[in-house]
Every structure is written in C-alpha cells, then in structure tokens.
Point group: C2
Chain length 148, copies 2
DNA sequence: CTACGATCTGGAGTGAGGTCTAGATCAAGT
DNA sequence: ACTTGATCTAGACCTCACTCCAGATCGTAG
C-alpha cells in the first residue's frame, strides 16, 4: 500500500490520474474485495476501465459515485436498491423523476431511522441514569429489580 | 390470534396475567420464532415459566425486558452484547458498574450512528435537490452527468 | 533476472439474525 | 368426539453483504 500511495502522491496530488483498486479502497473505505463485488453486482454506473495488463483504473467520477454509494449503504439502503439506482443513472437522462422518487423515499426512511434511534437513545439514557443513580446511592440498596 | 387476544382482553385489561408467546409477539413486535430463538440464545433474564401443558407463560417483567431488548436491537446492539447484558442482570446485584459501562458504551455508539445518519441525510437531501431542480427546469437540459 | 507486493478470476465460505418445516401436542368451541 | 388454531421441539434453511482462497499475472524496485 505504501508503494502505490507513494507513487500516486509523488506524481501529482490534484491531477485526475486513474486510481488503482487499492487506492480507491483507501479513499472510499470499502475493501478491494467489496469493490470487485460491487462491480460484479452491477452497482457501478459505468464499466471500470482497465490498464493494458487488465488492472482496474478508476476515474474520478467512479470514485465520486462510490462515495455516494458508501453514504447510501451507510444509511441502510439495500444493495438491490442501490443497483436499481445505478441502472437508472446508467440509462442516461429521461428517468430523473424515478431517481428522485427512489432517493426521496430513502431520505424518508433515513428520517424515520433517525427518529427511531433518538427514541432508543432516550430509553438507553434513562436506563443509564437509573444505574448511575443506583451506583451513586451506594451498592447497598441493591434489591434485584429485573426492570432496572 | 383473535382467540387468545380476546380471551386476554375480556378477562382483564390491566391484571398481570401471564401472556402466551403469541400475545408477547404482538406486544413486542418480535415474531414467535424470534422469541423462541432469543430464549434459546440466552437473551432472557429468567427462564420463561411454562403452563402445565408446556406452553410458555410470559410474566409482565419478561415483556418489559423484551421491550428493552427490542430497543437495544433496534439501535444496533449485537445479540452477543445483549446476551452479555442479560447475563449480568441474571447474576443479580453487584455488577451494576459493568451494566452501566455496557449501556453507556452503546449509548455513545447510538450517538455516533445518529451523527452519521444525519450526514448521510444531508448528502441525500442535496442529491434530491439536484434532481428536483433539474426536473423543475424541464427535462430538456438533461446532459448526462454521472455525478448527478 | 529475481523478488515481492498488488491485482486478477471464479467460486467457496462466513457471520449475523433470524425464519421455516415437520410432526406432535394442547386447548377451546360446537 | 371432532375440528381448528396456537404452541411445542429440533434442526434445516435463508438472506444479506461481504470475505476469503487458490492459483495465476502484473509491474516495480534492487
């Protein structure tokens, strides 16, 4: 990893040289395995270019797309839906309404998730406070209460 | 389900009659399969009582515990950790510090999750806005931009 | 030239978290 | 007694999202 990183960095830090799979892995947080897997699954918009030797050479826009994928996955979008989105983008212009619909539906699910998590947090916080108070009062008061 | 629900409700709405597995499933949102699975995995604090015929009879405190489990699971606590927590509670008083630590660590993870989700949401919202604006301007301007 | 690390392919394996099946039993209504 | 629906057990099976392996190839450094 030092080798390739070094090579890329010494060459040009801001130029849009294509990146190796390892470099993309480092930039996206995905593993090289996951990158190949995503490609096989059709989650990428375009086919990834290859070097003469057959190695993948990712363009800047591939990385951008992958960074979006990461965010969508991180927020719980299933791969199947991500694939659907990739297909729409791949088809080109004309289906923006459907893309919007897909993303907006996901946004609403994310909102719901956040709301749910906030409620979980309040339950957990309450429980944490119960224990903290319990410990503050000294352990002597420890009568076994299954709800506490 | 009508049978058992009806039976329970006509008898006493607020009494602490033990509940059948189906009733507990309805109250917790877990499937009866999941309830048996959780039991097998040692995620419950006490062993569930059985009727003479061998059916599970859940007490009110079993349900309370399960409702907490649901919240912890919903917020991403792995079953292994939930099991650890159940073990601590099962052991009785004396380990409150450890329970507190476990829950507090989880609370911090939930906070991190919420933060991450909020960032995802802002990325998605931005993308949604891009498409919305695109559509508002009319579809004519549709030049294929892989980043949009 | 040799070594070594990164990458290639196809396919098998993993872990989490359930879900489902079969075949039997229980309990309530008619 | 009979039917119907809920429950029982043990264990097989499933989905998801990767992850890993074997065995070959590429490409740079020494």
């Amino acid at each position: 990893m030092i080798t390739s990183e070094t090579r890329a960095e010494t060459r040009s830090e801001t130029r849009e040289e294509p990146l190796s799979i390892g470099e993309v892995a480092a930039r996206t947080g995905l593993s090289v395995h996951a990158l190949r897997f995503y490609e096989r699954e059709g989650l990428l918009v375009g086919p990834v270019r290859r070097s003469t030797g057959g190695r993948r050479r990712y363009a800047a826009c591939d990385v951008e797309w992958l960074l979006i994928c990461v965010k969508l996955r991180e927020s719980g979008m299933p791969l199947a839906e991500l694939k659907r989105f990739a297909e729409l983008v791949r088809q080109g212009p004309g289906n923006e309404a459907e893309r919007l619909q897909l993303l907006d539906a996901h946004r609403r699910r994310v909102d719901a998730q956040i709301t749910a998590l906030e409620e979980c947090r309040s339950v957990i916080t309450w429980k944490v406070d119960v224990y903290a108070e319990h410990l503050a009062r000294g352990e002597a008061a420890g009568l076994w209460d299954p709800t506490a």
